[in-house]
Amino acid sequence: MTQLMNENGIRCDGRKVDQLRNVSIKVGILKNADGSAYIEFGQNKILAGVFGPRDVHPKHMANQDRGILRCRYHMSPFSVTERKNPAPSRREIEISKVIKEALQPAVLLKDFPRTVIDVFIEVLQADGGSRCAALDAASIALADAGIPMRDLVSACAAGKVADQIVLDVNNEEDQEGQADMPIAIMPNLGKVTLMQLDGILTPAEYKTCLQTAIGGCKQIYEIQRKALMEKYFGNGGQ
């Protein structure tokens, strides 16, 4: 077993307990999608593309009084060390579902009856916390597609590693740590849209963990904001 944290409180990848990995976001990099984003979240490399609103096929899925949101999270065969079968796995189906449900409260679907908004997420390289990174990219891609949203969605995980609450759990910490809690929020509205918890925490630890994750989400929001501003307004956008 690798040592996850040394005596000085420095984690296995050299970060402090409350430090994010390096995050960079690029907006609008796919020509054929209506909106797109690319995120590098530590070693995660993820592409998100959005189409729509457009006609629903198959037609029976259409909703007469509001639009629907569909989401596909997919890991490329080369995204992990051993080849991953490209067919959707149980885990990918679950993540597609939770990402869809995390984005839904933010998107104003009632403006587009009988249509669909499709979100495609392709993980090119995975390194723990990919659902949060995917969600961050998807929310930016939706904004880039010009789809009306109440707020952006920012996501970040926190967890328990070597009996300490840490921000932004990486792959090793996820595999061998004690708990992992991905959180997504709408930062301006102050509402949580995704909360999962894998592991065991005491009530006190749970509270700290949640606060730590929300703090991380707010840092991510600033990066998302900067990326969008840069794409649309150049460097003059604040």
Binding site: P53, T115, M149
Partner: protein
């Protein structure tokens, strides 16, 4: 009264207080929040956001350019560069005495034809209904189709049509602008046609920059000076 402008992204609070929310904003308590990436405008007591991206949403009375994608025995279906399909009833073209057994829709409009039409009716419950019963509407016989972003159409038209007039006068081309972002340019003079196309594409690419009319004028080789609109965003 002065118009206050600011760059916003979804979720940004534009202003707090008793204001009337217009396009691309929503009200959350007494806060007015943006729903799109764009430029917010506060004018007197109304707040709106001019979006910089997004698809075309049909509005009643909009002039649009549509492409025939099919027909039933009673109506044509049009691609109007939106998430909704436009419908043009056969009676609109053939008149009140239209009979599905007697008249053949394909003789008037076939798949692939371009039509300038007006949105007669549109609401959440049904697809947009088009009409060609007006001056300058109907089948477009010749011209070059250019697709621009629907959000940049107002810039191509300019203040009281100044931009489009400038291009038309300088190139002697006829330009029909659909609110859906489809533009048809036609001219007998091939040089003028190419220049007009270039000018329309230039407006699409540089819509966010100030002094656009002047740039277009210098590209077209028109003297600078009177009638320049400068929206400094």
């Amino acid at each position: 009264m002065e118009v206050k402008r600011r760059y916003v992204i979804p979720g940004d609070v534009i202003i707090t207080g008793p204001f009337r929310p217009e396009q691309n904003v929503y009200q959350d308590g007494d806060k007015i929040v943006s729903t799109s990436v764009g430029i917010s405008e506060i004018y007197e007591n109304t707040v709106r956001v001019i979006p910089l991206c997004g698809i075309y949403m049909p509005k009643t009375n909009d002039l649009v350019i549509g492409k025939v994608i099919g027909h039933s025995s009673l109506s044509w279906e049009f691609d109007i560069n939106s998430c909704f399909v436009g419908f043009l009833p056969a009676q609109d073209v053939f008149g009140r005495d239209y009979s599905p057994t007697k008249d053949e829709l394909k003789e008037r409009l076939d798949v692939g034809d371009l039509v300038a039409a007006r949105v007669a009716n549109f609401d959440r419950s049904r697809d947009p209904l088009l009409t060609v019963q007006d001056r300058d509407l109907g089948k477009i016989e010749s011209g070059e189709l250019i697709e621009i972003a629907p959000s940049k159409v107002p810039r191509l038209i300019g203040k009281r049509g100044s931009m489009i007039q400038t291009i038309e006068m300088a190139t002697k081309a006829m330009i029909t602008i659909g609110q859906n972002g489809w533009v048809v340019v036609s001219s007998d003079d091939p040089v003028g046609l190419l220049k007009a196309i270039e000018a329309v594409k230039m407006v699409d690419a540089q819509a966010h920059l100030p002094n656009l009319t002047e740039r277009v004028k210098s590209m077209l080789g028109v003297e600078l000076g009177e009638n320049n609109d400068t929206i400094n965003e």
